[in-house]
């Protein structure tokens, strides 16, 4: 987890839990907006019992830095250990960690501070199997991962003392040094550059909606200036087939991309979103035009310091 402090508003703090693809994009966007990283601390999944101690220590540090007692703290939960095919036990573990952070937020709120909680949720997990998802669509998770995200949103909504900001992200693309989950686009780019085959379990014509991690990060940070509760669908409204992504990567790397397909009886269902459901001021990049940049980044290995601006994803 990372503690940041605003340079322009001393005493205003933010804590980001989870420095994966999206978390690091959020931190980069904050650094671009004159936040500085104050402390980096481990918050290991494997040590759930130790979370309480870490959070108590963290609360003390916040108390030491926010001396007037009514400053604002933004908490960002962008952590995620459970993947889309996670088991119920894995998602239960993650939910427990999330609840511990919610409890921490309650403690900070009880001290008089204003706490805004930003939850990175998953549009794909919540609306799996649905197409043309609009403002009037209802989440209907179909697997433990989606249920986890729904439960996280529900728990956050139940903490009425917290200002809640929920971001339902669709499929995210972007490469990151050291990231474990690279997503389809990142995987294809890196594998093709290394002449490795990518195995796709599903259909080449499956439709997904891709957004750049950096675009999502910037939106989250911009939304930190909002005082009221918000829930946003961060998708592009532009469905993209896997075939199209593969083709674009081929053009960008200038060589055939070796892939193998493993068709499943279930097949990959499409998940698409209406543009009318997207928030105002949200202008995500088109994944097609972003792929050449990702290829260049992968070739240069340019993401050296993921918290510095210019380190793209």
């Amino acid at each position: 987890m990372i503690l940041l402090e605003s340079k322009t508003a001393p005493g205003r703090l933010a804590t980001v839990f989870g420095i994966g693809q999206i978390g690091s994009a959020i931190v980069r966007a904050m650094v671009d907006r004159d936040w500085q990283v104050v402390r980096t601390r481990s918050f290991p999944w494997s040590d759930a019992a130790g979370h309480r101690e870490i959070l108590e220590s963290h609360a003390d540090e916040i108390g030491a830095r926010q001396t007037s007692g009514d400053e604002r703290l933004d908490i960002v939960w962008s952590a995620g250990r459970a993947g889309f095919d996670a088991s119920p036990s894995r998602t239960a573990e993650e939910l427990a960690s999330f609840e511990s952070v919610l409890d921490f937020a309650d403690v900070v709120t009880a001290s008089g501070r204003r706490v805004h909680f930003h939850l990175i949720s998953s549009a794909g997990g919540l609306f799996e199997g649905q197409r043309f998802v609009g403002l009037d669509s209802h989440p209907r998770p179909r697997r433990p991962y989606g249920r986890l995200k729904w439960e996280q949103e529900r728990l956050l909504a139940s903490r009425i003392e917290l200002r809640s900001h929920v971001y339902r992200l669709s499929s995210v693309f972007g490469t990151i040094a050291g990231g474990r989950r690279r997503g389809l686009v990142g995987t294809l780019v890196e594998n093709s550059l290394r002449h490795r085959e990518t195995t796709i379990v599903g259909r080449m014509s499956t439709l997904r909606d891709f957004v750049a991690a950096d675009d999502a990060g910037r939106f989250v940070v911009d939304n930190m200036e909002t005082d009221r509760n918000t829930t946003h669908l961060l998708a592009s409204g532009r469905p993209t087939s896997i075939l199209e992504i593969v083709r674009r990567v081929e053009w960008a790397v200038r060589r055939p991309v070796p892939i193998s397909c493993v068709p499943r009886p279930t097949n990959g269902v499409d998940i698409t979103f209406r543009r009318s459901a997207l928030p105002a001021g949200w202008n995500p990049r088109d994944v097609r035009s972003a792929i050449p940049g990702l290829v260049n980044d992968a070739i240069r290995g340019s993401v050296r310091n993921p918290y510095q601006s210019g380190a793209s994803s």
Binding site: Q130, F132, D136, R180, G183, T198, R208, E244, T272, R274
Partner: protein, 380 residues
């Protein structure tokens, strides 16, 4: 939605990208609504077939409101007659329109969330604009139609019936009689298509029309490989050979109301050139055969002339004629052969660059609900 595998996932291979989904929804607490997205329930319920439309717009301000009204009527008709099909979205692609089409469409989009407006940065042409629109669709079927009411949206239902009954992937809605235009233009258009059909061996060329119904996966795949100069219908033929035509009424409203056509002769010529360049001409492939034939013939003639010169020198009266003829025949034949080989390579590379696929997998099982609906409608 994370779709790349990572360490610890079922696929330990870090190169695997998982797109599959489960089919069993979880029982959720009472907070969750029972229904999915209105009109598009998830796969646990009967899955409605989604229909999308794409309309490139260049000069359609005077017609767009009426067109959207007609599309809305189609939407209501499909719903009212309980078709297992929903008109889910209509994508309009503004191709640097020279009237206020964009403003009209933005107003319309505010009223209907099923209308999507794309604005291209400059004029790219009808086919690229259509490609852009196709790449923004999610429907199981996609209909492309013109902006100027020449193509009646109601005919899309007829095309859908034809597609499902014949298990086709592409239906051309061909006007019962040619839209109003000069005799010269109609004749040259027909002749051009016939010439290309003959030269390319593609029997569907004569049916090519901008009023089409395309299976969604095929449409998006063809659009994904299409480049700037690709003729969209040629690209569609790379992915499917299940193509049928249905006759539809066509009224050139633009010509009736204004006396003009949407396309100038220059634009039509540009279309013809694009069609020619996108098609793999059989004549090019015959180049190598022609070259071999020419070299063989020239060799045989050369041998004949040489034998004649040696055996019957008196029969060749002009000194040096034999040598000259031998040289011309040999190098001419060799040049023809090399040119033929070069044409063959060029044709192959061109088709590869244009995106002609090695194969494409299609799933037609989604036609079944509509097929059953049609059979039930007939029996009642």
């Amino acid at each position: 939605m994370p779709i790349a595998s990572s360490k610890g996932s079922r696929f330990d291979d870090e190169n695997a990208v998982i797109l599959e989904t489960s089919t069993t929804p979880l029982e959720m607490p009472g907070e969750i609504e029972a229904a999915g997205s209105p009109g598009f329930p998830d796969a646990t319920h009967a899955r409605a077939v989604a229909l999308s439309t794409v309309t490139p717009v260049y000069r359609g301000a005077a017609y767009l409101e009426r067109l959207v009204d007609q599309l809305e009527s189609l939407r209501e008709r499909l719903r009212g007659e309980e078709w297992p099909v929903r008109l889910a979205e209509c994508v309009f692609v503004v191709d640097d329109a020279d009237d206020n089409s964009e403003a009209v469409l933005q107003r319309i989009a505010k009223r209907h969330d099923w209308v999507t407006v794309l604005v291209l940065s400059r004029n790219f042409g009808q086919h690229p604009a259509t490609v852009a629109g196709l790449l923004h669709t999610s429907g199981d079927w996609v209909a492309t139609l013109d902006e100027d009411l020449q193509h009646e949206p109601g005919a899309i239902a007829d095309a859908l019936v034809a597609a499902v009954r014949s298990s086709s992937d592409l239906v051309y809605c061909v006007p019962e009689r040619p839209p109003h235009g000069t005799l010269f233009r109609n004749v040259t258009s027909r002749l051009c298509k016939r010439a290309v059909a003959l030269l390319s061996g593609n029997r569907h060329v004569a049916s090519f029309s901008s009023f089409r119904l395309i299976r969604g996966d095929v449409a998006r795949a063809a659009a994904a490989v299409s480049m700037r100069r690709t003729y969209l219908d040629v690209a569609l033929c790379w992915f499917t050979d299940r193509i049928v035509s249905v006759p539809v009424p066509a009224v050139d409203v633009r010509h009736t109301e204004t006396g003009t056509s949407g396309y100038s002769t220059l634009r039509l010529a540009s279309h013809a050139l694009r069609l020619l360049l996108s098609s793999q001409l059989r004549a090019l492939r015959l180049g190598a055969a022609i070259g071999v034939g020419a070299l063989t013939a020239s060799t045989l003639i050369a041998i004949t002339v040489l034998v004649q010169r040696l055996m019957f020198p008196a029969s060749i009266g002009v000194p040096g004629w034999t040598s000259l003829l031998l040289a011309i025949l040999f190098f001419g034949g060799l040049t023809a052969l090399l040119l033929g080989v070069l044409l063959e390579y060029t044709s192959t590379v061109l088709m590869h660059v244009l995106g002609q696929p090695t194969f494409f997998v299609v799933d037609r099982s989604g036609d079944e609900p509509l097929r059953q609906f049609l059979e039930a409608s007939v029996s009642t």
